[in-house]
């Protein structure tokens, strides 16, 4: 297999804070906007597209196999197959690596890859007691049978299960994602001040990068014809340390360090690229944004899921021989400032590297090469979309800087990490 995996185009919707401007669109709508704009910019006959693969975490209850819904809403033909992939926070990347594997297996030549998430639309769920009550009513055969259960109705029945909270809690270790970040803050001694400073840089870089980010963003209509949205609404212009310092710890009120200011916000957004074999891209003169040269997923203890990137990068080195120092730019997802800083320390630690049987640290990265246009703390983290955004962002930046190699890596709730090695054309 000599053909390279080409990544063509690469657009995303603006990222909007959950419950905000894009709350009226579901994940399938957002994905469809991204796909439409991606394909409008490519002169590829739709008949040459073999499949649409979408990564999405909280799949809309009324859009089972959201990938298929996205394909049809984007105007792709009825006979296009579509599948949804799920690797939690790496779902957007999973779409790309799945596509790459299908191409390598000779099953497809061109796939539309989507990452999409509407965290606004993660539902509240009726709790078990209430569900049981409804079931009792539904099963009843008599009028009295239908009425009687309601006398057992208590206020606690009305407490909903908050879907987004459950989704962000590891059901095995029982910890919320924020609590896993607190663990890393302690293990790697990441102070509150360091976290806030990291968050500030994220905002400052994102604000400074608005024009650059606009190159990857496509404006999309707001729900109900209420206008267009063209920018991310996360990055704050006047962000300062004093404001960040005022925030109370969110996950551990008493002794915590993680606040909503140094963690990524809940966000809505979607991204799309075309992944195809290089020959096809050349045949149709498609704009190649870059190549996927290697990738690795690695797993670890769910309580330390934030260190996933360290494990994935180690695996990438062992598998593909790529050292951290080989990469000109790095996109390291910022789920939490504490987690991102812990990863940087993990990369630099010879002790931690011993776990992987390595006799050297993975490498120390110059922070100036990491997340140069800001990260999820400022831009937001629509979980299914972020993985793909990292790929798109880093490829655009490599091109702008005339650099060659980029690493997109992210931690995955439940205890995994992803690392994608990318190359400019």
């Amino acid at each position: 297999m000599s053909t390279r995996i080409a990544i063509v185009g690469g657009v995303r919707t603006p990222f909007a804070k959950a419950g905000g401007k894009l709350a009226g669109w579901q994940a399938d709508d957002l994905g469809a906007f991204a796909v439409k704009e991606l394909l409008a910019r490519l002169r590829l006959p739709v008949a040459r597209i073999d499949e649409l693969v979408a990564g999405n975490v909280a799949q809309p209850i009324d859009a089972a196999n959201v990938a298929r819904v996205i394909a049809l809403k984007a105007g792709l033909p009825d006979d296009l197959i579509a599948s949804t992939v799920h690797r939690n926070c790496a779902s957007g990347m999973e779409a790309v690596t799945t596509a790459a594997m299908k191409i390598r297996a000779g099953e497809a030549r061109a796939l539309v890859c989507v990452g999409t998430e509407s965290m606004s639309n993660i539902p509240l769920i009726v709790n078990r007691e209430m569900t049981a009550l409804y079931a009792q009513v539904a099963r009843a055969k008599s009028a009295w049978g239908r009425l009687a259960p309601w006398f057992g109705l208590r206020p606690r029945h009305l407490n909903p299960i908050i879907g987004v909270q459950s989704g962000l809690t590891d059901p095995v270790c029982g910890l919320n994602m924020g609590q896993t970040a607190e663990i890393l803050a302690r293990e790697f001694a990441v102070s509150r001040a360091e976290q806030d400073a990291f968050a500030l840089v994220s905002h400052q870089r994102a604000v400074a990068a608005r024009a650059r980010l606009a190159e990857e963003i496509v404006p999309i209509p707001l729900p109900k014809g209420a206008g267009m949205m063209e920018d991310d609404d996360g990055p704050r212009d006047g962000q300062d340390l004093a404001a960040l310092a005022k925030l109370k710890p969110y996950f551990d009120r008493a002794a915590g360090t993680v606040t909503v200011g140094n963690a990524c916000p809940l966000t809505d957004g979607a991204a799309a690229v075309l992944v195809c074999d290089e020959d096809l891209a050349r045949e149709f003169n498609l704009p190649i944004t870059g190549y996927l040269t290697a990738h690795a997923y690695a797993a670890l203890d769910g309580r330390r899921m934030g260190l996933g990137p360290v494990h994935a990068v180690a695996k990438l080195e062992q598998r593909a021989g790529l050292r951290l120092a080989d990469f000109d730019l790095v996109e390291l997802n910022e789920a939490f400032a504490a987690q991102a800083i812990a990863c940087l320390r993990g990369f630099a630690s010879p002790d931690y590297a011993k776990r992987f049987g390595l006799d050297h640290a993975l490498g120390e990265i110059d922070p100036a090469r990491v997340n140069v246009n800001g990260g999820a703390i400022a831009l937001g983290h629509p979980v299914g979309a972020t993985g793909l955004r990292l790929v798109i962002t880093i490829l655009h930046e490599l091109r702008r800087r005339g650099l060659r190699r980029g690493l997109a890596t992210l931690c995955i709730g439940g205890g995994q990490g992803a690392a994608l090695a990318l190359e400019a054309p």
């Binding site: 709508d29 469809a32 906007f33 439409k36 704009e37 409008a40 910019r41 002169r43 009324d62 049809l72 809403k73 984007a74 105007g75 404006p219 209509p221 707001l222 109900k224 014809g225 209420a226 206008g227 267009m228 063209e230």
Partner: protein, 711 residues
């Protein structure tokens, strides 16, 4: 050749109806004769216990009576006895079918309208398939007549007095499920299982209870009263020009449950010989003709729209609602947002009518996307330009567009007043430019003028017409001239109304008179709705193009240039606020010259209507449109010209060509040469022949036409 094929099995006679030489089954003389003969046969076969009527033509049970028979009588009082005889024949036949000893069942798959439904009503039971093509109804009033083969008697008995009144007076059609709910059919089945259901009904016909309402016995005046209310409502809706719904209501009110079939027969004969029926039937034929495509062309896959204003957004919606992906280009995101807002608004309107679920509306909205660049245009089959009405801008936009589309992409311009010839000079391939004139609001106006200029490729013209039809519009091909067809005829009418105003007739009075003529709104209400800026601009362009029809009236200029009024969109025009409320803007009176002689009612109507009709005759003479019937149809759909009057060409024929020419000469002497009759009128006045309605004066289209299937 028989129109019926009967098979006997298991004691059941299955009757397949197949009327030869027609696209749809229609009750013509052959079918009526064969059904009568069938009754004789069935009476001699006591071993047969049930009869099932079905159609051998897919998608159509019986679409109604043969309209050709009707048209022959329309407008001819001397045909009164013939129609009466025809009514009696049908009534007699259906009475025979109703009294057959066998159980009769109608198995309905497809259109079951008019006489077709009256046949089904004469059966003991009815089953309908739930296919999309299945519609049931008695739409006769839409053609200016009423059900005359027992429909006014049998329908109330089956579904009740008020539901029947509503169905017949409004000419409503029901799909299978609604028909089941109304009690019009006894069962609904999937098309493959239709015969199973029919056999089940034949084995066990439903037991019927009297649907006569309880108040019938204590309030004998109630039926007539309720019918009068329905008649008044119908009258208000049609401006009193359509006698059919009123008469139908009266007949039902007077004769329900009376076994009096003579009343409906007499009413049918009275109505069918009136001129309105001729007009309505011709309009129906014309609209059927306009629906048919000119030829096969490659399927449309994608559409581009330039300009995201009200028209651009509306056009984008129409394409998206027709299932086509649309790329809209404009210069700012705010403009793009407006197109999305228009789409959202029109979809909300569709949803309100319960014709779309929110999910389906979302899918339609997704077909529209916008860009500030040219991305997404490379694969457009047709690009429709809807930018500002300025020749320089249009030329620039079209030339730029040409660089970003395929060589075979058709460019369409939604211009209303500029000529295609002027625009085409900007293109490398002028033959791909076609006019596609939509009317505002796009979602409600059924007409699109497809404009061919001298160099237009006929294939491109057909492609644009096909796109318009795909959008559910009636496409009428017209030749390139200032104002095209509709505005060219409408503007003299509006200008004449303005001159009547200058002569001292009041705004409200002129509007009232022309509403009385049958127009849906008066000329000044229409001006306010169009927008006085647009109206004045078009009036100026046409006054320059056709100088012998007089300059644009001074009052229009002053209202726009001095008072800066724009009409309904600015909240103020000839009327304050909504024209419906009838509050005339007092500012207008101050602009008017002193009244010398106030024009009379008949003069006002004649001046306005004949200004329009004279121009229409001129368009027909210049072959701006292919035929008189298409011209009339365009005016019915584009200006709301009263359907009962058939359109300007029918109106001229109805008035008589000779008297009209004389009247025009009088008006020319009194008010100016703009009223001089056109050559076509003068030629026909000399020979005393009516203006041609059908192409090449062929009296009637033959063969392939659907029957009562009205607009």
């Amino acid at each position: 050749m028989s129109t019926l094929a009967v098979t006997y099995a298991d004691g059941i006679a299955t009757v397949d109806i197949h009327v030869h030489g027609e696209r749809m089954n229609v009750l013509n003389q052959h079918l009526i004769h064969d059904l009568d003969a069938l009754c004789d046969v069935l009476l001699s076969k006591p071993e047969i216990t049930a009869v099932i009527f079905r159609s051998a033509k897919p998608g159509c049970f019986i679409a109604g009576a043969d309209i050709k028979l009707l048209r022959a009588a329309a407008g001819r009082p001397e045909a009164h006895p013939d129609v009466l005889a025809m009514a009696n024949t049908g009534q007699g036949l259906f009475a025979r079918i109703a009294s057959l000893p066998q159980t009769t069942v109608a198995a309905i798959d497809g259109a079951c309208l008019g006489g077709g439904l009256e046949l089904a009503l004469a059966c003991d039971a009815r089953v309908a398939s739930d296919s999309e093509k299945t519609v049931l109804g008695l739409p006769e009033v839409q053609l200016g007549i009423l059900p005359g083969w027992g429909g006014t008697q049998r329908l109330p008995r089956l579904i009740g007095f008020l539901p029947a009144l509503e169905l017949i007076v409004a000419g409503k059609r029901l799909d299978a499920r609604k028909a089941l709910k109304a009690g019009l059919v006894d069962r609904v089945a999937g098309a493959p299982f239709l015969m199973d259901a029919a056999r089940a009904l034949a084995a066990k016909p439903p037991v019927r209870v009297s649907r006569r309402p309880w108040w019938w016995y204590i309030a004998p005046f109630a039926p007539r009263l309720l019918a009068a209310v329905a008649a008044r409502k119908a009258k208000a809706k049609t401006g009193g020009l359509m006698p059919a719904p009123v008469r139908a209501a009266q007949v039902i009110g007077a004769t329900a449950w009376s076994e009096d079939y003579a009343a409906e027969g007499l009413a049918l004969a009275d109505l069918a010989t009136s001129p309105q029926v001729l007009h309505l039937i011709d309009a129906f034929f014309a609209s059927e003709a306009a629906k048919k495509g000119g030829g096969e062309s490659a399927p449309l896959r994608q559409v581009g729209v330039l300009g995201a204003g009200v028209m651009g957004g509306g056009i984008a919606w129409a394409a998206a609602a027709a299932g086509l992906p649309v790329r809209v280009r404009d210069l700012t995101l705010d403009a793009i947002a407006k197109a999305h807002a228009t789409v959202a608004d029109y979809e909300r309107q569709v949803q309100k009518m319960r014709k779309r679920t929110p999910g389906a509306a979302n899918v339609v909205a997704h077909r529209v996307s916008g860009t500030l660049g040219w991305d997404g245009f490379h694969d457009a089959d047709v690009v429709i330009e809807a930018v500002v009405e300025n020749i320089e801008v249009k030329r620039k936009v079209l030339a730029e567009c040409e660089a970003h589309v395929r060589d075979d992409t058709v460019l369409a311009s939604n211009t209303s007043s500029l000529t295609l010839t002027d625009m085409a000079v900007a293109l490398r391939r002028p033959q791909r430019l076609v006019g596609m004139h939509f009317f505002n609001p796009v979602n409600r106006m059924p007409l699109v003028e497809v404009v061919a200029h001298a160099a237009s490729d006929p294939a491109a013209v057909e492609r644009v017409a096909a796109l318009a039809r795909r959008m559910g519009k009636t496409a009428i091909v017209v030749q390139d001239c200032p104002g095209f067809l509709v505005n060219r005829c409408l503007l003299p009418y509006l200008a004449e109304a303005a001159r009547c105003l200058e002569d001292g007739a009041g705004i409200a009075r002129i509007d009232r008179l022309l509403r009385g003529f049958g127009m849906p709104m008066g000329p000044f209400e229409l001006c306010d709705a169009i927008g006085l800026d647009v109206g004045y601009k078009v009036a100026k362009i046409l006054a320059t193009a056709y100088p012998d029809r007089g300059a644009a009236p001074e009052i229009l200029r002053r209202v726009y240039e001095e008072l800066h009024l724009t009409g309904a969109k600015g909240g103020k025009g000839f009327y304050l606020g909504k024209a419906k409320d009838g509050r005339v803007n007092p500012q207008i009176a101050e602009l008017l010259p002193p009244t010398l002689r106030e024009p009379g009612d008949a003069e006002i109507i004649d001046r306005c209507v004949l200004a329009l009709a004279n121009e229409a005759a001129r368009c027909l003479d210049e072959q701006v449109v292919a035929s008189g019937e298409l011209l009339d149809l365009a005016m019915l759909m584009g200006t709301g010209f009263p359907p009962a009057r058939g359109g300007p060409i029918h109106e001229l024929n109805q008035r008589g060509v000779r008297p009209t020419v004389e009247r025009l000469r009088q008006l020319a002497a009194a008010h100016g040469e703009r009223f001089l009759p056109c050559d076509l009128l003068i030629r026909h006045a000399k020979t005393a022949t009516p203006l041609p309605i059908h192409p090449e004066s062929v009296p009637m289209p033959h063969g392939d036409h659907p029957a009562v299937h009205a607009a």
